[in-house]
Every structure is written in structure tokens, then in C-alpha cells.
Symmetry: C2
Subunit: 107 residues, 2 copies
């Protein structure tokens, strides 16, 4: 994650509805992973599932870190982008219980 | 954040007690930032404060991402390390309202 340039990290955590079919969670992961190839303001993309044993994840099982050069790219290009909208509406909303988002600039 | 090697990201979010003196929050940030110089299994360290406008941060204002080579380094060296323990007891616990932690492996 080290970088000389200041970057914006968009940290997104997902908690899926109890009993969600694993194939739908897999599809959600794959569709999120596909966004960087569709939205060129995404400069880095990383994700994983929780392996902590601290019981401090508050039910969130997935963490995605999407990196942009600026908040403008996030707010004005990524969020309203048709590929992002389609992902949110089609792959996330039907199965999501809760979402947590923090955006921060690297120093 | 790109990396060829598989790494463990320890994502920690802080929500401070209402009314916490800014000098104590500043000290907490500085003391966290000092850990990589004291604990050599920390391979990368990044943090920032929330700038999202989505109102999905659930009161968490600070996000720290601490990177390790393995979960063993996190669990067996970092967590019980005296410098970490001192930081948690002295700089975090007196002012913390809530903590969220997710650990994930990069793929």
C-alpha cells in the first residue's frame, strides 16, 4: 500500500443477509472484481474475506479497498458510472444486510 | 496496495467517545503511527480519517491498515507485543467508544 502520491482509499465492508446463497455471494465478489476493467478511474483494487479471530468485525465478512486519485473521481465518475450502478442494483442490493464505508486519503 | 506476494491486511477502525479532547486523538494517531518503528513484523502501515459523504461510516472516523506477512506475525508477535499493549491500554482504551476490525489476505 506504500505510495509516494496521495491516493484516496474507498474502504467498503459488506454484511450479507443471513442464509444468502453462496453462489450469489460469489457472483457479487466477481462482479465487484470486474469493475476495475470497466471503470478506468479505479487505480487499485484489493479485497478479501475476514480471517480475524477478534470478533470485532460486527458481522461484516468482506472488505474491499478501491483506490482513486481523487475524491472527484470517486464521487463524480465511479459512483454514477453505469457499471457501478448495475453492480450495486443487481449484485449487491438483493443480498446485502449492511454496508460500511470509509474513505481516506493516504498521507 | 498492489503486491505480488500474499499479505495480511489488518484493518482497524476507531470511533472515539463524544467530546474526546483533540489532543488525545492526536496522541492516539501519533502513537499508532509509531508502532511500525517498534514492531518489525509490521510490513506496511497506512491510515487516514474519513472523508466520505455517504454517511455509511457508522461513527468510525479513523481507518488504519496494518500489513503483515502472516496471521502468525499478527496474532503471535504484534498483538502481544509490549509496544502494542502499551498503545492499546494507554492511548486507545481511555478514549475509545467502538472498534471495528477485519483482517484479510490479499490475493
Amino acid at each position: 500500500m506504500s505510495s509516494a502520491a496521495k491516493l484516496l482509499r474507498h474502504v467498503v465492508m459488506f454484511k450479507f443477509k443471513d442464509g444468502t446463497d453462496k453462489t450469489l455471494i460469489d457472483k457479487c465478489e466477481q462482479d465487484f472484481k470486474a469493475l476495475p476493467s470497466k471503470i478506468n478511474v479505479i487505480k487499485d483494487f484489493e479485497w478479501g474475506t475476514d480471517v480475524s479471530g477478534e470478533q470485532r468485525n460486527k458481522g461484516f465478512t468482506h472488505c474491499f479497498v478501491v483506490t482513486f486519485l481523487s475524491k472527484e473521481d470517486l464521487d463524480n465518475i465511479y459512483i454514477p458510472h453505469p457499471a457501478h450502478r448495475e453492480f450495486v442494483e443487481g449484485s449487491v442490493k438483493p443480498i446485502i444486510d449492511d454496508i460500511l464505508v470509509i474513505d481516506y486519503y493516504t498521507s
